[in-house]
Subunit: 304 residues, 2 copies
């Protein structure tokens, strides 16, 4: 596999150059333009055997997920993606054809969300047995509201989730964790609809329990979730829906009225932001009838 | 190894927050401010066994190189670094202590060049035998001159290199490829001294031969290099100096007078930008007495 030729292929097949891209790939750095003077950045990795399984996952879905995972971070800030960079270390026996298909899928996915891939780096493992590692860095700029952080939740806010949760990883390894839509448009709609009332937001990658605990910890609050309100995918228990992860839906807190739908996507009130529970209290409290559970740990159980 | 704890350590020990960093690490994305509305980006990877050798290289130098490689790309554009993101996939048995030392070294190196690490991602390989992969994305903004690309070389320009070349990889695996200084300040000095006469630039990572061929190819010219002018490290033949790589010195083309030194660093005229040699001619022609060589290939030899 010739790394230089692969990079050339990627550069030469890049989509129509966006007006945003002042210097396209192929130099020591690429250059993009902003409409303001603030830039958001994040990076995510996928590793074969952990986030994807190359033995069963079509390579197009591997490339897709490498990009959509990072775009989900952009959605979580209610920001607008501008450009991305992709770096991959490929197994020795990966082959030119699969490498090209991987990068084509990354480029097509990024283009679909108006986010040009402006740079990259390719390395090849010495051994065939070393797994694919693919990292994607995404650049974004603020949308209709200032970036919505994890730290802005206020006592009394409603806690909401978009879509339905749970079961993203199918028994065959496929499923929604590969095909989810990053909620970019929906996050911008939320920003426009709620303005400054949209207090805190995160995308659900670790599971609603852990991700709500990130919100709670960063905001210095407790989050109470009502188990019966959690919008589970059909046939799933709330415990599965809360702990499964890789939903890539949005969890946000807001004051006042919130739309019940964003386009086709339902928005569900699942709980409330509470006073912090003290140093030993749970960050996330799940209420199921008369029982309460520590939702950030799910192992800890408290009978009220 | 707890990935979340390691990230917390990295975030909590981050240097004094720069005024540049509007949102520090710890959210879905970080936010930085620019002085203008253009942003440069690049990504580079290091893989154990290829760019470093964990069995012999002190971990501090691994972290250092992961960052300085990307900063060398910033120097090659005569740009100013702003911030960086780091993503790593660690071998299963890497250990918390080494992981912390790796990220501390990355952070300290980045801070030294006024380039805060504002985000990151950590994954752990399933197997102890899978190699460390570490990618660093760097953000920069234009310096005193517009970014100096690879494509601006003009016929008649002088071709220059900074410092001395060759022997960066010592017989013990250590050496300058681990300890080099990215030529950030020197590139800015060049920009200020030469202004629009600084036509094209690249950092020498693949070796002067290959990197000059990148300049020539992107600029649509031929580059002639005079072998006896190449500033080799003591005791090295020009062939070694041209093909060794990982010098991370600058190679640039410019019109008119050029300073002989940038601070302590020598600047050497090594050749000239020529008319292109046609579709089958060499991109880089090395002249050694009466002989000429294809410097971009080094295997091809033409006796004049």
């Amino acid at each position: 596999m010739r790394e230089f030729e692969l990079l050339q292929h990627i550069y030469s097949t890049a989509g129509a150059p966006s007006q945003r891209v002042l210097l396209p790939p192929g130099d020591d750095m690429a250059m993009v333009s902003l409409t303001g003077r603030a830039m958001l950045v994040a990076v995510d990795q996928i590793v074969d055997g952990q986030h994807v399984d190359l033995s069963t996952t079509p390579i197009e879905l591997v490339g897709r997920k490498a990009v959509t995972r990072s775009l989900s971070d952009v959605a979580a800030m209610a920001a607008i993606p501008i450009a991305a960079l992709a770096a991959a270390t490929l197994p020795r026996d990966f082959g030119q054809q699969r490498a090209t298909a991987l990068f084509d899928a990354m480029r097509e996915t990024a283009d679909r969300y108006r986010c040009s891939i402006v740079g990259g780096d390719i390395a090849v493992h010495l051994k065939a047995s070393s797994p694919l590692v693919c990292s994607v860095m995404v650049l974004a700029e603020p949308g209709p509201v200032p970036p919505v952080t994890r730290s802005g939740a206020r006592v009394g806010d409603g806690v909401y989730v978009t879509g339905r949760l749970g079961g993203s990883l199918g028994p065959d390894g496929l499923g929604r964790h590969l095909t989810f839509e990053p909620r970019l448009d929906e996050a911008l709609q939320l920003g426009r609809a709620l303005g400054q009332r949209l207090h805190a937001m995160i995308d659900i990658s670790d599971g609603l329990g852990r991700d709500a605990s990130h919100l709670a910890q960063r905001s210095g609050v407790q989050i109470r979730i009502d188990a019966h309100r959690i919008p589970c995918h059909p046939g799933l228990d709330w415990r599965v829906a809360m702990s499964g992860g890789e939903d890539y839906e949005l969890c946000f807190t807001a004051a006042g009225d919130v739309p019940h739908r964003l386009g086709e996507l339902p928005v569900t009130l699942v709980g409330e932001v509470m006073q912090p529970a003290g140093p030993h209290g749970p960050l996330v409290l799940v209420r199921d009838g008369a029982q309460t559970f520590d939702g950030s740990q799910m192992g800890w159980e408290h009978r009220s």
